[in-house]
Amino acid sequence: MVAILPLRLEGAEVCRKGKRLLGPVDLTLSPRGFTAVMGPNGAGKTTLLRLMHGLERPSAGRIAWLVPEQKARAAQAFVFQTPVVLRRSVLDNVAYPLRLHGWARDAARALAADWLARVGLADAADRPATVLSGGERQKLALARALIRAPQILFLDEPCANLDGRSMREIEAILSAAHRDGTRIVMATHDLGQARRLAGEVLFLYRGRIHEAGPAAEFLAAPQTAEARAFIGGEIVE
C-alpha cells in the first residue's frame, strides 16, 4: 500500500457559526509514533482529530496527506468516544469495513472472527452488537478499526467511562497495533494513560497547540503555565 504519511496541517482552522473552534494549527505527523492529544474540555481535541480524519472541513488553511484525500481515507480508521455499533451481529460489525471494500462474505467473516479472538470477543460473535456493554462495544470498535490494517488510527478518548480491566485490555490492543507499525493519534484526559502509551504529546488549549513534545518530558516538566496547571491536577479552563 502507498504510504499516506506524513500528514501536514498548515494554518488549519475550523469555524462554526462564526466561532473559531480550532486553529490556526500548524502540525506535521510523522509516519511512526504514538501521539496523545491532551487538554481541557473544549480545547478542540475532538475537532482536531475529526479535522485530520476528514470528518470536518477546514474553514481555512490546508491539510495534506502524501496522496490525494480519497485515497488517504482508505488507509485511516477512527474510533469514536461513544462507539457506533451497527444493528447486526458482533461478527458482521467487524466484517463490515471489509464488505464495503468488496470482500466476499465468507472471507470477511473469517478475518473478522480472527480479530474478535484478538480483542477477546470471540464468544460474543453471534450476539447482536447492540446488547454489548460499554467496554465490549469499544473493543468491537477497535477490532473494526484495525481490521483493514490502517496506516493511522485516530481514537477519541476510547477509555472514557471504562473500568480498569477494560482499559487495560484496550491499551494492550493499542500497544500491539503500535508495535505492528500503526501510527496512533489518541485524545485522552488520562495522564496515566498518556504516560503508559504515548511517545509524544500535543497539548491543546483554546483551540491551539499550546505545547508539544516528547511525552516523558512534557509530563515531567511542562513548559507553559497552563500545561503545568493541567498536569498538576488544577482546573484549567
Binding site: H53, L55, F78, F80, V84, L86, R87, R88, P128, T130
Partner: protein, 234 residues
C-alpha cells in the same frame, strides 16, 4: 342490531362454505394491494433512505411535499389515473382502464408517498446514529443506503404495513379506475360499497368482517415471519 347479527351469520356462512365469489373477490383484493405495496415499497423505501442521507438545496421542501402527499385524496388520484389511462389519454393505447393493473397503478401512486415518508422518519434516526461511522469508513452513497435499509428493516416493515393498511381499505381510487366489474375488477371494498347501495346490508357487513380479518391476518403473518417483538431483538 339485527342487521349486524345477520351480517355476522352471513359472513360466517360465506367463509365456512368458501363461497366462490367471496374467495375470488378477497383474492383479488389481496393481489391488487400486495402488488401495489411491493412496487410502492421498491420505490418508496430507497427514496426515504436517500432523503435521509442526502443533503441538497430543496431538501426541506421535498420532505414537506412528501409528507403532504401522504394525505393524497384517493378519489383525485383515481381521477388522474382514469384520465391518463382512458382511451383518449396518453396511455390509452395500452387498454388498461377497468383492469386490475389500473387499480394497481392507482394504489402505487397512493402508497408510495406514505411508505417513503414513514421510511424517511425511521431512516433519519438511524442515519443520525450511523453518520460518523459510515463517513469514516468511506462508504459510498449506495452503500450507506443499503446499510440503512438492511439494519432498519424492521422499521421499514412498519412502513410497508402502513401502506398495506391504506391500500386494502381504499375504495375511492380503485372504484374509479377499476369500475367494480363482477369477475374482473370487483374487490372487497368496492363490493361493500355496491351491496350497501343496493341495501343488502347483511352481505355488505359480511364482506366487511372478511376485509378486517384479512387485514389482521396479513399483519400477523408478516410480524410472525419477521419475528418482530420476539425476545431481545433490535
Amino acid at each position: 342490531m339485527n342487521e349486524i347479527l345477520q351480517g355476522m351469520a352471513r359472513a360466517a356462512w360465506l367463509v365456512v362454505t368458501l363461497d366462490a365469489d367471496l374467495v375470488e373477490i378477497a383474492l383479488r383484493s389481496l393481489q391488487v394491494t400486495l402488488t401495489a405495496v411491493a412496487i410502492a415499497s421498491a420505490i418508496g423505501l430507497p427514496l426515504g433512505a436517500l432523503l435521509a442521507v442526502s443533503r441538497f438545496r430543496h431538501r426541506r421542501a421535498a420532505i414537506a411535499t412528501l409528507n403532504a402527499l401522504m394525505g393524497l385524496p384517493p378519489v383525485v388520484v383515481g381521477l388522474v389515473v382514469y384520465l391518463l389511462l382512458s382511451r383518449s389519454g396518453p396511455f390509452g393505447v395500452f387498454g388498461l382502464l377497468f383492469t386490475p393493473t389500473a387499480m394497481i397503478v392507482a394504489q402505487v401512486m397512493l402508497l408510495t408517498p406514505l411508505i417513503a415518508s414513514i421510511a424517511h422518519q425511521a431512516m433519519r434516526d438511524l442515519w443520525a446514529d450511523y453518520h460518523d461511522l459510515l463517513i469514516s469508513l468511506n462508504a459510498s452513497r449506495a452503500q450507506r443506503i443499503r446499510a440503512l435499509i438492511w439494519d432498519g428493516r424492521r422499521a421499514l416493515l412498519t412502513a410497508a404495513l402502513a401502506g398495506f393498511g391504506r391500500g386494502i381499505g381504499e375504495v375511492g381510487a380503485i372504484m374509479i379506475v377499476g369500475g367494480n366489474i363482477d369477475h374482473s375488477t370487483r374487490v372487497l371494498t368496492t363490493a361493500i360499497a355496491l351491496e350497501t347501495a343496493k341495501g343488502d346490508f347483511a352481505l355488505a357487513l359480511g364482506l366487511g368482517f372478511v376485509l378486517i380479518a384479512l387485514a389482521l391476518a396479513v399483519n400477523f403473518a408478516i410480524h410472525g415471519l419477521a419475528r418482530t417483538e420476539a425476545g431481545s431483538r433490535w
